[in-house]
Structures are given as C-alpha cells and as structure tokens.
C-alpha cells in the first residue's frame, strides 16, 4: 500500500483538477451561450435590427396588436397609446407606450418583447424600442416611449395579425441600490 500511496495522491490531484475545470466549465457556458446566440442571431429580441432597403407592400394590410404586462409586483402602470394599428408590410411605423411609477421609490425595469404567432418574430424588425435599455422611473414619474418597427414583406401570407406583447420585469439589483 505504501508504494501505492504516492501514485494515489497523483491520481487524486489530477482528478481534482478535472472537477475544478468542470465547475468552471458550468460558468463558462454562460458567455459561450451568449456567443452562440449572437452568432446565430437567436434571442436578439432586445437589440436593434438592421433593415435592408424595403418596399411597402400596399396590397396587404396587417393588424398589429399591443399587449402590456407587469411582473414581480412592479408598482407601475404600463399602457400602449394605441391598442392596435393597421399597417402595410414594409412600412416604417411608430407607436408610443406610457409607463407611470406609482410608488415613492425609484424603480428600474426591463421590458422583454414576445410575439404571437411566434413565427412572426423573425419578420418583425424593431429599429428603436424602449426595451433596448433598462428604464428607470423616479417616484411618480410618467414616461412616454417610442417603438419604431418595420414588418418585412415576406411575412407568410397566412399571418394577418401579429401581437407584440411586452412584459416589464423589475431589475432588482438596481432598484435596491437606487431605493
């Protein structure tokens, strides 16, 4: 056994290194996942889209509906100024949303968009959106924010209505410092 002891210690050291490296690998998956999503263009719903030269398809009319939600007990109201718009594919459109902070503390939130039907997402190009940055509201503050978008005209023919749904989440790390 004594002759084995040193060999065992060496094996132990090697295996501990493997375990430590794999612990690091778990965390390394975080930037790796982001890099893959960026490279494949996945998950890019809160980044500005680039729109190539588009033509307006005046023959087709789409309805875009707006839906707003609040999560994690956010003390806000959040409403679109128009409930829906009728537009042509390819047309540059601007709509406005309003948020109001009802609490007596500064609150930071982040809006996350989602689309119904989901396959419309890749044709829905946002040039400007309040969801590209975190929004901080002072106590009682009211803020009006624009969304500028184009729906690409190669949207499948069977999609006539797109719902753009925003959910505001409270960014807790920030608000604790601010409040």
């Amino acid at each position: 056994m004594v002759s084995n002891a040193q060999a065992n210690q060496r094996t132990l050291a090697k295996l501990l290194v493997v375990a430590a490296v794999m612990f690091g690998f778990g965390f390394a998956m975080v930037p790796f996942y982001r890099a893959i999503c960026d490279a494949l263009g996945l998950n890019s719903v809160i980044k500005a889209d680039a729109v190539a030269n588009t033509q307006v398809d005046a023959a087709r009319l789409l309805t875009v509906e707006f839906d707003t939600n609040l999560r994690s007990g956010l003390p806000w109201t959040f409403t679109p100024l128009e409930k829906s718009v009728r537009i042509h594919p390819g047309a540059l459109t601007q709509v406005t949303f309003e948020i109001r902070n009802h609490s007596d503390r500064a609150v930071t939130g982040q809006a996350i968009p989602s689309y119904g039907p989901p396959q419309a997402a890749r044709y829905f190009k946002k040039l400007d959106c309040f969801c590209f940055t975190q929004q901080t509201l002072a106590p009682g503050e009211i803020k009006r924010m624009p969304v500028v978008f184009v729906i690409e005209k190669d949207l499948p023919q069977d999609v006539n209505t797109i719902t753009l749904s925003y959910t505001f989440f409270e960014v807790e790390g920030k608000s604790k410092k601010a409040g």
Partner: protein
C-alpha cells in the same frame, strides 16, 4: 469465519476498528462497512421517496382534489424525484462499488479510506436538509427535480435548502468517484489488467469519470440560481439580461449524463449476473466495454433533446435527434450481448437472474419509448406528458432499481454469509414486475391521450388509466416491504451460504469466505 467483523489476529493496528456500537459506524474507514452504510441509507431514502410517490398516486387515484393542495402536490413530485435520484439510486450504486470493487480487483480497501468515510457521512445531513425543507415557510421546493428557472429563482427558503443539499451531495459524489477511479487505476492485483476486470468494475470506472465531469456543472448551475436569488446576479433573469433557457442547457448538460450514471453500474451488475446463471462467460466482453464507453461519450452531446420545445434552430434539433438515436446502437450491443450470453446456456432462474431478465425486458421497453421521444415532431407532441413519465420510470425503476435488486440478491449471501429466502425473493420479483407494469404501462396511454405531468388534477377521460396506475403503485410500494423482510431475515437467520454461492459464478470475490473477513486481500491475489 462466522465472526464477520473479527479483527483479532489481523495484526494491522492502523486498520483495526477500535470502536463498537454507533461509533464504529461513524468512524469506520473500512470499505465493507461504508458499503453497508451506503446501502442502508439508500434503502431508507428509497422508502422516503416511495412514501412521497404514494402521496402523488393517492391524489391521482381519482379526478379532482381530494388530499393535497396543488402547491403541496408539486412539492411531492419534486422531492420524490430529487430523493430517488440523489438519495436512493446513486448512493445505492456507490454502496455496491464500495463493497465490490476492492473485492473484485483484489485491493485491500479503497484508495482514500478516510475520504470514503467523509463522502458517506455528508449524505445524511444533505438528506436531512431535503426532508426538513417540507417544514420551512413556503414548504419544500416545488420547481420539479429539474429546478427550472424562473420557478426555482422565485421559490421560498425550501429551494435554498435543496440547493445546499445538492451542493453537499455533489461534493460527496465527486469524492466517492475520485476514490473509485483511483482504486481501480492504481490498486488492481498483479495480473488484473484493465481488460480482465469484471464488467461491473468497468462500468463503475466509466460512471465515476462521468460523475467527475458533471457533478461540478450541477454545482455551478445551482450556485448560479443561489446568486440570482440572493445576490443580485442575473444569470437566468431575463430582466437583467440573463436567460432562463440558459439554465435548461446547463442543467441538461449535467442531467443527461446523469441518467447514464444511474444506469451504467446497473448494466455492470446485470453483466455479472447473467453469465453466472447462464453458466457461460459473458458474450462479447470487449464490445461491452467499448459500448459502455461509447454511451458515456455520446451522453455529452445529446442533452438538448430534453428541450426541443423551448426553441432552437432546426439544424440543432436534427443534430440532437440523430445523436440521441445513435445511443441506441451501443445500448443495443449490450442487450444483444446479454441475450447471446443466455443463448444455449444452462439457465436457472434464481431471484438475481429473474431480476436481471426482468431488467433486460423492461429496460428495453423503456429504451424503445426513449427512441420514440427522440423524434423531434413526436417529442413536441409528447413533451411533459405522462408518456415521458412512463418512459423514464421504465428505465429508472425497471432499469436501475431492478438491477440493484438483482445485485443485492446476487451478492447478499457473500456479504452476510447467509442465504436469503429464495421463495420470498421470487415473490418479491414477480409482485414487483407485475405491479410495476400495472403502474406504469397505462401511463403511456394517458400520455398519448394528452395528460400533462406534474398536475394534481386531470380531465375525466383519464380517470380509468389513473386509477389503474394508482392501484398498481400501492401494490408496488407494499411489495417492497417483502424486500426489507428478506434482507433482515437473511442478515439475522439465513442458512449458511457457501463461499462460492452460485455454481456458475466467476471472479475474485467468490474465492473469499462468506462472509468475507473484515480485511480482505491484504496480500494481493495473483490473477493469471
């Protein structure tokens, strides 16, 4: 050699145990004692997890809510999964490794005997944390054993206790694996080359490597949940720029190899049992080794088949679908090798062989439903239905658990020096086999018809299937009491077992007395 634990005359003061009673078990560094501790612990947790399963089936016996609130039902399913995976199945296999690996390779003990003691004694506190979490405000975690975010970042303090329990069990598991690998690589008897090792030792060597690769990843994942919950990080918080789907990727990078951790040692046990009762050497030994290694390597590139519905590019879905199906090839090699081993053997069907044959039959059924679920369009239909529940219980209960039973009946005469009651063992097998299928077979139909898992209530058209499943589950649970009786009776009063208990058994452990002395192979045997 009746005095199993006699240490007089061994002359190894450093290894002799100085304590008696409870202190003997707390301070022991003997691989046989620690193996026993692991097995007793996992049997206890098997009944705790089983009790939770009975609670689940009680609520599902009839439609509507009779016994539990939905929140508590979710706690039951979550804790049933966590306790069975981390408390029952994994420690049971480590118990087998502790008892058998040194005896089978001719080593005097595990490489790091003190670390071995520690890796066991971390488990009871971890299990206590899990059980106690039922009684904290908000109850135990109800996020499912997969701990998906954002559920797991929102739960009460029960979730924190589960995270700490997983940290502790992960550490214990890593230490146990390091011990097993070091023992196998460095402490084999002269002449015991790698390709002469019994297949059980091979499967554990590969499993231990899997564990060292994946348990740290799980530890990382739950640490990220913990910091998201309490320290303002945003790994999985969409609002802070994180992504809940990322958790699923990290979790299943651990989770898929984990399911092979729970089945590969079972393959090893069956590969010992089948040749013994066929009275033939194992067919295709080296192909078995390569198949085990192939399964282990492939298990790292299939994880996203658990998450086809969360959204991924079609190319990724195809990749994960094909790699998943590829695993059926080495698994098929194993099943065919077992059957070829039995072919023209002089077969007898003692309890270990019954469980091994039951394992091959029912595990293969679970494998086939796994292939069905690997097909992306089918999986999108069946995701989170009872079809999936049926699938993984066919591979985990009829797979891992039945192989454990086969191993216990096979080696218990060696461990205790007493024969178990063969008649009762056969009753245990047949009742388990029948009630297992009564419980889980109807779940295929309920799942195909669309019944979702993890829901305490269901539409009326599922009522008949669920009543059959529940009655089967109660029968299965009661049948396991026979097992406890058989084990206790075997330890206390069974007939004397021969050193080579089974006529066709091969291997170093059968050259030792039954029960083996407290210290074995202090002079290593020479393997020709």
């Amino acid at each position: 050699m009746d005095a199993a634990h006699a240490h007089n005359g061994h002359g190894h003061e450093a290894h002799g145990h100085h304590y008696t009673g409870i202190m003997r078990w707390i301070t022991t560094t003997n691989h046989k004692d620690i193996g026993t501790l692991y097995l007793v612990f996992s049997l206890t947790m098997f009944f705790v997890g089983g009790l939770l399963a009975m609670g689940i089936r009680l609520e599902l016996l009839q439609p509507g809510l009779q016994f539990w609130q939905p929140e508590f039902f979710n706690e039951l399913t979550t804790m049933h999964g966590l306790i069975m995976v981390f408390g029952a199945i994994m420690p049971a296999f480590v118990g087998f490794a502790n008892w058998q690996v040194p005896m089978m390779i001719g080593a005097p003990d595990m490489a790091f005997a003190r670390m071995n003691n520690w890796s066991f004694w971390l488990l009871p506190p971890a299990a206590t944390l899990l059980v106690v979490s039922f009684f904290v405000p908000g109850g135990a975690t109800a996020a499912g054993w997969t701990l998906y975010t954002p559920l797991s970042t929102q739960m009460g303090p029960g979730m924190d206790l589960a995270i700490f329990a997983l940290h502790i069990m992960g550490a214990a598991s890593i230490m146990g694996s390091i011990n097993i690998i070091t023992t196998i690589l460095n402490m084999r008897a002269p002449g015991m080359t790698l390709m002469k090792m019994p297949l059980f030792v091979w499967t554990w060597l590969i499993t231990a490597y899997l564990l060292i690769a994946i348990m740290p990843v799980l530890a990382g994942a739950v640490t990220m949940i913990l910091t998201d919950r309490h320290f303002g990080t945003n790994f999985f918080n969409a609002a802070g720029g994180g992504d809940p789907v990322l958790f699923q990727h990290v979790f299943w990078f651990f989770g898929h190899p984990e399911v092979y951790v729970m089945i590969l040692p079972g393959f090893g046990i069956v590969s010992q049992v089948v040749p013994t009762f066929s009275r033939k050497p194992l067919f295709g030994y080296s192909s078995m080794v390569y198949a085990t290694a192939s399964i282990a390597i492939l298990s790292f590139i299939v994880w996203a088949h658990h998450m086809f519905t969360v959204g991924m590019p079609a190319a990724a879905q195809l990749f994960f679908m094909y790699t998943t199906m590829l695993i059926a090839v080495p698994t098929g090699v194993k099943v065919f090798n077992w059957i070829a081993t039995m072919w023209k053997g002089s077969l007898t069907f003692e309890t270990p062989m019954l469980f091994a044959c039951g394992f091959i039959f029912v595990f293969s059924m679970g494998g086939f439903t796994g292939l069905v679920l690997a097909i992306v369009p089918v999986d999108i239909q069946l995701q989170d239905t009872y079809y999936v529940v049926a699938h993984f219980h066919y591979v985990l209960v009829a797979g891992s658990l039945f192989s454990l039973f086969a191993g216990v009946y096979y080696w218990m005469p060696k461990w205790t020096g007493h024969m178990y009651d063969e008649t009762l063992g056969k009753w245990h097998f047949w009742l388990s086999m029948i009630f297992f299928n009564v419980t889980f077979f109807p779940m295929h139909f309920a799942g195909l018809a669309g019944m979702p898992r993890r829901i305490p209530d269901y539409a009326l058209q599922f009522a008949d299937f669920n009543m059959i499943s529940s009655l089967g589950a109660f029968g299965f649970g009661l049948s396991q009491l026979i097992f406890v009786y058989v084990v206790v009776q075997c330890i206390r009063s069974g007939a004397k077992a021969a050193d080579k208990t089974w006529e066709g058994a091969e291997g170093l452990e059968w050259t030792l007395p039954s029960p083996p002395p407290y210290h074995t192979w202090e002079t290593p045997p020479v393997v020709k």
